[in-house]
């Protein structure tokens, strides 16, 4: 019997349970570093799937990057894609399973570097699935190299003197780019560093899954996230650094929301 089962059974006689581990998050230890935003996002993604009761109808696509093992934790049917190709794989799945909820879960290297063509064209076709985009401005899995979203001046394993705009360009705001395309139905940028941010991200995810029912186009929920190990900071410090250096170039909030006409038509 799992730990959460025990806990609930013994406490329920005195108090109401108001928060527990989501049922669709498998009861295994996640490999992510302490305080990593991936872990929190996995958790709330499954909370949302449980809340909407769509576990049986959901198919997820895992990327290459830190979240490559997402399928070890998310108790839904999962497909692990090649680096950058998650949206192409999702296109294939959605094409033959149009009634299912399909999401991709991708990092900044996967989505905004090697997979840019697939990302842009999925949006341009108005593919009716959800991209969950974790933007922490670094390649975590391979040991902290520069990502296309790394802030200017930020030192990484491959920008040891700081990201130079002249050679590496400016950080790419891919969600904003996608929002320009008519095929993108909903684009929002959220975070998971605080309880309030988590609440907002959950709301955004719920919206995005509900929009998928309307068959109106691509939804992208960007999560500006941290990388304590890559940034060489404690989890708390990394969140503070993220507020100062990431959220200034990637401000939180909705980027593209459907109009009332969009929702009704």
């Amino acid at each position: 019997m799992s730990e959460k089962g025990t806990v609930v059974a013994e406490k329920a006689s005195e108090m109401d349970l108001v928060y527990c581990r989501p049922e669709s998050l498998l009861d295994v230890r996640m490999h992510y570093c302490p305080g990593c935003g991936h872990t929190t996002t996995h958790k709330i993604l499954m909370e949302v799937i449980d809340q909407l009761n769509i576990q049986e109808e959901t198919i997820g696509v895992a990327p290459v990057g830190c979240a490559v093992l997402a399928y070890e934790y998310l108790n839904v049917d999962m497909h692990q894609a090649a680096h950058g190709r998650a949206t192409a794989v999702a296109t294939g799945i959605k094409a033959v399973q149009p009634d299912k909820y399909v999401f991709t879960y991708q990092g900044d290297g996967d989505l905004a570097a090697i997979g840019t063509a697939e990302t842009i064209h999925s949006a341009n076709r108005g593919e009716n699935f959800l991209i969950i985009f974790i933007n922490n401005g670094i390649y975590g899995m391979t040991g902290g190299q520069m990502a296309p979203t790394t802030p200017i001046g930020e030192k990484t394993a491959t920008s040891p003197y700081g990201r130079d705009k002249k050679t590496a360009g400016a950080p790419i705001d891919i969600t904003n780019l996608l929002a320009q395309l008519p095929g993108t139905f909903y684009a929002t940028r959220q975070a998971v560093h605080s309880a309030n941010a988590v609440r907002k991200t959950k709301k955004a995810l719920i919206k995005a899954f509900e929009y998928q029912k309307l068959d109106k186009g691509l939804c992208i929920v960007e999560v500006v996230s941290n990388c304590p190990s890559g940034w060489k900071l404690t989890p708390y410090e990394s969140n503070e650094w993220m507020k100062e250096h990431m959220m200034t170039i990637y401000p939180l909030g909705d980027i593209k929301t459907p109009s009332k006409e969009d929702l009704l038509s």
Partner: protein, 96 residues
Amino acid sequence: MAKVKGEVKIAIETCKGCELCIHECPQETLVMSDELNQRGYHYAVVAIDNCTGCTNCALVCPDACITVYREQRGKKKLVAQLSNITENVTITIDGR
């Protein structure tokens, strides 16, 4: 008005000691343990019995280690449905 009484239960072996819950708790209920868990992490523990059951700590906890309970006035209600244990169990309690 009296504060709502809450309680947290922390799965200490799952905790990775990131301390985000401690920074997020408005009541300063939680502290880090002196002891280590089996993985070698200090883990979050309740220091003061002043929890209001706001769920902030649990929301930011990446590893879903924190279960939150809250005292509530009300009628008999469904609080949890467990399907991950061997048999499906539904628990109902009387509100005080």
